[in-house]
Structure formats: structure tokens, C-alpha cells
Symmetry: C2
Subunit: 265 residues, 2 copies
């Protein structure tokens, strides 16, 4: 699409987002660095949401939480501004998606917002590729396909809803390797939650993802599914908060921390 997708550092990438020069999804950007889901909520709901994350660690691996009103994640990126450094935001009002393509969330910010940063499977795609495992959506230049499953998360207060998964197709042999590679990346969703028959987790049509884009599944490949942070956005809509600011699915925050460093936390 012509947009620059090579950045020397995560901070250069974040500056491009801040200036509105980069508005795309982030799979394949700054390989080897941690990408994160962003969820800013009023402090009154913060405990219930944090407990939801704690009870559903595969879908909601908690990397960092800011103090109320503070837009900087202290260990992930000291120079970052979480109100501006994501390529595209969503704003929810009274639990409904109010604005889906916000480039700068500063207008909507409040001093009582607590921001949660949750791990993302984009963080281990570099490690998958290094192990010779295909990452089809990067090969095809699209967003990862994401699906709503029939598995329910454990609820916490008003937060409840189904597990959402991302999918990468590969051979069975590659899937075994992928389990080994990604088990280490616990804070980026870790090992897959399912592989093989999509119907077993309630996915009716693998060619019609609920979020992101369809990718090619080649002859001899099976779909492999990882828990996905978009799970939190469905739980959010059930909780009806008066305000929530999140990244748009696939448009992740990119930190200064490497995925290898995150494996050691």
C-alpha cells in the first residue's frame, strides 16, 4: 500500500504513529519487539478488569498497568505516550463502539483512566519465522484472521464473554515446533489453545474471520489457534463502561522491550 513499514527502532515507529503517518496494522513491524494490546478504563472498573485478566491469562497476559491518568508504560517504553502512539484507536462509550478509526486518543483521555497493556501474538511471529514456520498473513500482507469461539472466559464483575483466537495455518510438523517455540512466550499468549478442526471451538467458516483478514490455508496444512487479546474487547462491550479506549484490532502498541526479554519476566 506504499506506507513505510520499516522502522529503525520502536520509538521511530511510535513517532510515525504520533504524527499520523502510519495508520495500518502492525504484524511484521519492528520484528523481535513486544507488541501489546491497549485497554484504558476508568479506575472504578480497574480491579474487576484486572481480575478478568488474572483469571484468563492465556487470552489476557498482563504485561504492565499504568497509574491512573499516566499515559506512559514505565517498563515497556519510557518515552511513549499511550494516547498517541498507537496507529489506530477505538473509543467505546457506554460499552458501545462509538468511534472505530481514531488516530489520536488525547481528546478522549481522562485523569482517572488506568491503561492495561496485554501481550500479543505478533510478538512471537519473528521467533516462529526464525524456526522456519510460515506466518501466512505476513506473507500475504494482511492482518491476522481472528475468530470468536464457543469457549467462555471466566467472568469477573461485569466482564465476561467468549474467547477470541488468532489463526496461523501450517503443517502438523510445523505445529509441533510452533508449540515449542511459543510456550516460552507466556506473556504473548504462549502455546496454542487449539489446532485442527475449527468446528470444535465453534468456528463455522474458517474463511470468514470475525476480525482481521482471511488467509490461504494450503493443501496439507491445519489451522493453529492462539488466544487473542481481542477477547478483552468483547468482554468490554458486556461490561458497558461509560468510557474505554483501546487499540483497533491488529493495530498494536510497540514497546522498546524485546520478546526475548519478555520471556524472562
Amino acid at each position: 500500500m506504499g506506507t513505510k513499514r520499516d522502522f529503525a527502532t520502536p520509538s521511530e515507529f511510535r513517532l510515525a504513529c504520533r504524527k499520523g503517518r502510519f495508520q495500518e496494522q502492525t504484524s511484521g513491524i519492528c520484528p523481535g519487539f513486544v507488541q501489546a494490546n491497549v485497554m484504558a478504563l476508568p479506575k472504578a472498573l480497574a480491579f474487576d478488569f484486572m481480575l478478568f485478566c488474572s483469571r484468563n491469562p492465556e487470552a489476557c497476559p498482563l504485561i504492565e498497568v499504568t497509574d491512573p491518568g499516566n499515559p506512559t508504560p514505565p517498563t515497556l517504553a519510557k518515552s511513549a505516550d499511550l494516547r498517541k502512539d498507537v496507529s489506530m484507536y477505538r473509543v467505546y462509550v457506554d460499552g458501545q463502539l462509538n468511534l472505530s478509526t481514531v488516530l489520536d486518543a488525547e481528546t478522549y483521555w481522562r485523569p482517572d483512566l488506568v491503561t492495561f497493556l496485554l501481550g500479543c501474538s505478533f510478538s512471537f511471529e519473528d521467533a516462529l519465522a526464525a524456526a522456519g514456520i510460515p506466518v501466512r498473513h505476513i506473507e500475504e500482507g494482511v492482518n491476522v484472521p481472528m475468530y470468536i469461539t464457543n469457549r467462555q472466559c471466566k467472568p469477573s464483575g461485569p466482564f465476561k464473554g467468549p474467547l477470541v483466537v488468532s489463526m496461523r495455518p501450517m503443517t502438523s510438523a510445523q505445529a509441533l515446533q510452533a508449540v515449542k517455540v511459543t510456550s516460552r512466550h507466556r506473556l504473548s499468549h504462549g502455546a496454542p489453545v487449539h489446532l485442527g478442526n475449527p468446528a470444535e471451538i465453534g468456528i463455522k467458516n474458517i474463511d470468514e474471520p470475525d476480525f482481521g483478514d482471511k488467509v490461504t490455508i494450503k493443501e496439507g496444512e491445519i489451522p493453529v489457534f492462539w488466544a487473542c487479546g481481542v477477547t478483552t474487547q468483547l468482554a468490554l462491550m458486556n461490561a458497558n463502561p461509560e468510557l474505554a479506549i483501546t487499540h483497533a484490532p491488529g493495530h498494536m502498541f510497540i514497546s522498546d522491550v524485546t520478546s526475548e526479554e519478555l520471556c524472562l519476566r
Copy 2:
């Protein structure tokens, strides 16, 4: 000391606590099962405390959090009552240790109490022993020695304070093995935080622990230090909550989950 220390199951152990028949520390009890720190706090403080745990995961590995008022930990032990099933409790009022040897906490319970269960290094002592590593305090029939260090935890709201560590003496070769064994046990404090010279972490006299008992350090052995859940009790005293109920140091809650199962969470 004559008290029965062999129990067929954790639930048999918990029943003995509930009936006041077991009032001792729990190192070596129900080997292979997860032991946990207990911290019950009013819900108004729950988010700040949970954030303290999230920011200090080595000292405060969060295994499970109950809903307000609910005395049962849903995944750790469905039959348990956290108000009664610990061998000895402490009750803090206005941040001060008010009662240090409470056998049944039901009298002090409130419907707004949220109970946090944090991992404990007692959970991996069975794995250490299986790897041929001495667990001196079990050999000597005493509580593990615990020390206040000069390392400060990352604060959250009113919760702040120094890191507390537990110590086990062993040879350098055994220490290397111990790092390998315990790294897997992330939710039981994981790998050591220090080994060797106690002064480097602010411990003046290894023979005078701040909590628990002194143990013998043999010729050729070095002290090896793990982060300890007692860290939370010092943070608690700084936070001055109107009420908090915890286990007494070393008197842990014992769950129905094995340490191996916890490694897979």
C-alpha cells in the same frame, strides 16, 4: 513436637487446621502440593494491591483472587474455607499487627474482603529434594529463615516496602541445579533473586533472620535467596488498611493443586 505432620491429602490437612489440631508452620507438609500466601483486604484497596503484585511478580506471584466476600478459592481448592483452613492467621487493624496467633479468622471476616492467594517457595521444596538439593530447615525441623533486604519493591498506591527473601544454604553446584529446578516454578517465586554474599542485599547477619528460624550453613555452602511472600505483609503495614487478614509467616494455605500443575498455568 509430637503434632501429626503426615496427611493423606491437602483436604485432610485443611480439616486438621479447621479443627485447631494443627497450628504449626507448613514447610514439608503435603509435599508436591501448592502452598500459598493468603492476604484478605477490603475491596476498596484490592486494585492497588493487585497492581503491587503485578509490578513485583517475583515476590508476589498471583495464583488466584476470590470474589469479594467469597472464602473459597475456585481453582485451588473447591472445598476450602479461607477463613478457617490456615493453621495460624494474623489480623492487622489500621495497618498494625493487632493479633498474631489467630486460629480461626471467621470472627474478623467482612463481606467486602477480597482474598489474594500468592505462590510460596514451600511448593517447590519437594522438587529441590528430588533433585538431591538439601532443604536445611526441613532437615532441622524449623521454619525457613526470612530476611528483609535493601531492595525496594515497585510501589502501587499506598503499597510499598522492601523485598523479603527466604534462604536455603547449599553448595555452588547445587545452587546451579536449584536455579534450573525452580525457574519452572514461576508462580511459586521461580528462580532465586540472589546467591552468595548476604551483605549485597542488605542482610547484616545471616544468623539473625527477620522472620522464621536460623538454619545451619555448612562449610562449603553458600546462602541462596528466593523472593518471599512476606514482602506483602510489610507493604501492607505501609498501606495502613483498616483491616487485613493474612496467614502467619510460614503457616501457609495448602491447595489441592500440585506444583507440577501450577507450572503449566
